[in-house]
Symmetry: C2
Subunit: 572 residues, 2 copies
């Protein structure tokens, strides 16, 4: 790879681009710079033609005006592809467009394909290549993403990093002088490592070509698009930014609809919907149930669902009767299902299967995910207080032996993994039970639930956990360490439970927390949304995609595996 | 204060409610519980009438059916007010409504006013009272908030905590058996500690009464309302939740418009708009300029602004000429103003005043706030690498003395505060300069900028900073410590700069970062939004409020202080 314009000057893009490329890439890098012998410790060359090896890719970070000349060198050298990061082409107007056309024409002579110009570069997971204009955090993963905005694309890539999800390929495609957005999408469609495709579009050069190519992809995997430009102000900004003619928004809306492209309105939605496809099966119908620990959450979520074309179904008398047996008389007696402040958390864990087994319910929004762990964490607050011992005495109560902590201590000392696992099982049961008043029979059911999830290997005690406990015992902090262990396992337990329902019923179970904090992927397979509105949006987009597949004759109940696009699909 | 139903049982709300109240409240607390002598170490009483002191407030956490009886005791005792947390009243149907009416009637005999029932309690900053059903983090601050949803209200209060903003009063009003939402709002309107009022409404008992009371408040301070229930599904959920009749959404929309209540669609928007009023003056007109470090950000922001009725104004030839002198030829030549990858960050700091001084521009969205600090942080990454010394040699270059670090070291050793301040001034100048290629004259202008903000006291070196530097010098980590100091001061510098513009031009300058992370209030006076869309929404709501004040004859250019609702207003 040649980096044309590589620089030692911190104030130049040629510096930060080379910094980024060096970070992780295993192939050879040849800086090209007409003034220096070495750049950042790498032997540098005055011209591409001086490089003593074959060059697969030439990255340009030099002024636009000088690119055509160097591109001629690239043709002579037999370079295969070019990435032009530099700006100053069609986005600047007529003159820039002429320059751009000239560069494309020159490259074409040597069969060189061009990414850009006026872009931020690309990422390719297989070669761990971050050909970006500055170092940026990106994870490998199941997404493919082509963005006509480098900044917006970069922000989305970094937001995905924070969420714990990654990309097999990401391209900031800039002015798309040569390779078009639909070409990238077509390529992603053929790549088996890519499960879901994202795109940010400002304007298309050839709408008909886009439709032809993309409609072949959407029958294989979801394509989610963000497209601003509903207003004149945006259309004007687009013209000066990517040099694209954004055209009438109605035309785009119709094209997306025709091709089954899922349109979203923001970068956050782009990732939200992608996380939905990656963690949930496709909903079989548009009807859903909502279970909420708080009425107002349910109201807002139901409002969002109904506004987005999902049906918050009425529950049959039979179902109402079943829920009556679980919840106190004051529960909402309808959908959303709201136990109205019931303190029995075991019932809250028992309700979902009652709803998921109903044919008329295609998916479930299960609210309050984070609340459980917060509550679990707050126990440590209680323990510090006058109530010290409430939790440990409860543990002793259900283990039948006095001093649960002593027995845990000896288990760790003996290195008895199975014993510790059994104790964790008891502790999780105790933790959930203690969040309210539960009857003996319910506690027994809960313990069975925890036990079977442990057996399935979905809640694991790692060697690391074991070491930490042993270490903390040396410093007389065993209780604190054990408490942290079970609080962490609380999220694992809920995730395992939800994933179990998802797999057993083949239906989406979308959980929500209630903080503004954007959560990360849990255990590599579950994603909990910050609000019911966001969960509703994701389900509505997934439902619309299923409708598209139905229309195209691809989705047929019983024939199509609804787990196709999920990470769960990989695990099965 | 009496807590009726206070309990030692971890599984009861009477436990967590008492835990919450004890935390911070300075007054006397009397648990009332008919089975125990003491609760959480506090002397407990069998009946309210047994309490050997006057009782201002009785908090109920006992089953609904028992409340009327205890309320009679409260009347006998001369209790002044009641908070009924317990559910099981009008939200459960006809029977619950009868029970509720009976309790209200009993209370009325003693002139006892009721908050609730079926609510989560309230917070009052002056007495530091968190009468919540479980411990919840809340900060004192300039907001007043009444929520008909306890869970949603709690989530918003906790989200505000994360953002670093607080409440003078927060009430979860539940079924509003006695005190109505408009009563709380009226009260907040008269409270000089409250600058902005928030409300979450599911349904109103008497719309006309709401309109009459609230219209008197909106002419004094902004009232921001979230009201779900546009759909039938939500209306049904509302009926079973708060027992309210949500009524036609059109009626609410009209009532809000008539009374100048600002309607938003989510809890996040509620806080976003509140932060806008608290940190920005009211925009004098609906036209704005956008400055963006990336074209796509500008496109999306312009689209959002135009969709929300803001005008992304065309710039005059004169302004274009002025910006031409700042930016390279490839800049966008329009609004949004996009330097198109210009590496000179000093120009980016010089552009805003050119736009803010124009009468036709009512406000400015200034994008990329976080990018500066990220870039500053990434310097440490560069420093670890082959480029070590780039920054320190630059520092030495502009100080004119070799070894900036040595001179800093002796300044700290001598405890020379003024000397350190001068060195920080140089370092900040160096840091901004180094983010690109700047000319000598520009660096001098930048240094002048930093210097005047330092003189104004807006960027301060605290005694703590000083101590930390001294301490780190002992461990030979002076360079690292100094680097952290200037990176942290980078945010302070930008905040000081923006606040200076806001005050100088009396116009909103709304900054944005580009991460999904919800930011906190910076320096107690500035808030940077995560995206241009959110900034646009806030400005559009503020503009609409100004229009309302204009219509009511309250806003008159030159007469009304646009800083009225801001925290800046306090600082002036």
């Amino acid at each position: 790879m040649a980096v044309i314009g590589a620089s030692n000057n911190l104030g130049k893009w040629g510096f930060s681009t080379l910094m980024s490329i060096r970070d992780g890439f295993k192939g050879k890098i040849y800086p090209v710079n007409n003034r220096r012998d070495d750049v950042l410790g790498l032997q540098s060359y005055q011209r591409v033609t001086d490089i003593p090896a074959e060059v697969d890719l030439a990255v340009f970070v030099i002024p636009a005006a000088n690119i055509d000349e160097v591109m001629q060198d690239c043709v002579e050298k037999g370079v295969k592809a070019a990435l032009i990061i530099s700006a100053g082409f069609s986005e600047t107007g007529e003159e820039g467009k002429i320059l751009q056309d000239r560069v494309v024409k020159t490259a074409a002579k040597g069969g060189i394909r061009i990414v850009g110009p006026n872009c931020m570069g690309f990422w390719s997971a297989p070669s761990h290549l971050r050909a970006f204009m500055f170092p940026m955090s990106v994870l490998p993963g199941p997404l493919g993403f082509v963005s006509q905005g480098g900044n917006v694309g970069g922000a989305i890539v970094m937001a995905a990093y924070e969420r714990g999800i990654g990309f097999d390929k990401y391209v900031s495609c800039g002015c798309t002088a040569d390779i078009q957005i639909e070409d990238y999408i077509e390529h992603f469609g053929d790549d088996p490592n890519i499960k879901v495709i994202l795109t940010y579009i400002e304007g298309l050069a050839d709408g008909r070509r886009f439709i032809e190519k993309v409609r072949k992809v959407t029958t294989k995997k979801p394509v989610i698009a963000m497209k601003p430009g509903r207003t004149l102000a945006a259309a004007q900004a687009i013209a000066s930014h990517s040099g694209a003619l954004s055209g009438s928004d109605d035309v785009y809306e119709a094209a997306f609809k025709e091709t089954g492209v899922i349109r979203v309105d923001s970068g956050g939605e782009l990732l939200d919907v992608a996380m939905g496809f990656l963690t949930q099966p496709l909903p079989r119908n548009n009807s859903l149930a909502i279970i909420t620990p708080g009425g107002s959450y349910g109201v807002i979520c139901a409002d969002a669902c109904a506004s987005l074309g999902l049906r918050v179904v009425s529950l049959s008398q039979e179902t109402l009767d079943e829920l009556d047996r679980l919840f106190p008389p004051r529960w909402s007696h309808g959908n959303p299902v709201d136990p109205a402040g019931d303190r029995n958390f075991i019932s809250y864990l028992q309700a979902p299967p009652l709803l998921l087994e109903l044919d008329e319910i295609g998916s479930l929004i299960y609210m309050g995910f984070g609340s459980f762990s917060s509550f679990a964490s707050s126990l440590s607050f209680f323990e510090r207080d006058e109530t010290v011992g409430v939790f440990s005495s409860f543990l002793s109560g259900i283990t039948g032996s006095e001093g649960f902590l002593q027995s845990m201590r000896s288990t760790v000392e003996e290195g008895d993994r199975a014993g510790l696992q059994a104790q964790l099982e008891l502790a999780l049961t105790a933790l959930v039970s203690i969040m309210g008043s539960a009857e003996e029979e319910e506690v027994a059911q809960l313990r069975q639930m925890v036990s079977s999830l442990m057996d399935s290997g979905r809640i694991v005690i790692s060697a690391e956990d074991f070491d930490q406990l042993a270490e903390s015992m040396k410093h007389d902090r065993a209780y604190e360490a054990f408490q942290n262990l079970i609080i962490n396992r609380m999220d694992d337990f809920l995730t395992a439970l939800i994933v179990d329902w998802i797999e057993r019923y083949g239906k989406p179970v979308v959980s929500t927390s209630f903080t503004e904090t954007v959560p990360g992927l849990i255990g590599g397979i579950h994603y909990s949304y910050p609000s019911g509105e966001r969960a509703a949006l994701v389900l509505s987009k997934m439902a619309r995609y299923r409708e598209y597949l139905e229309k195209e004759g691809i989705w047929k109940e019983g024939e199509f595996d609804p787990f196709t696009f999920t990470l769960l699909g990989n695990h099965q």
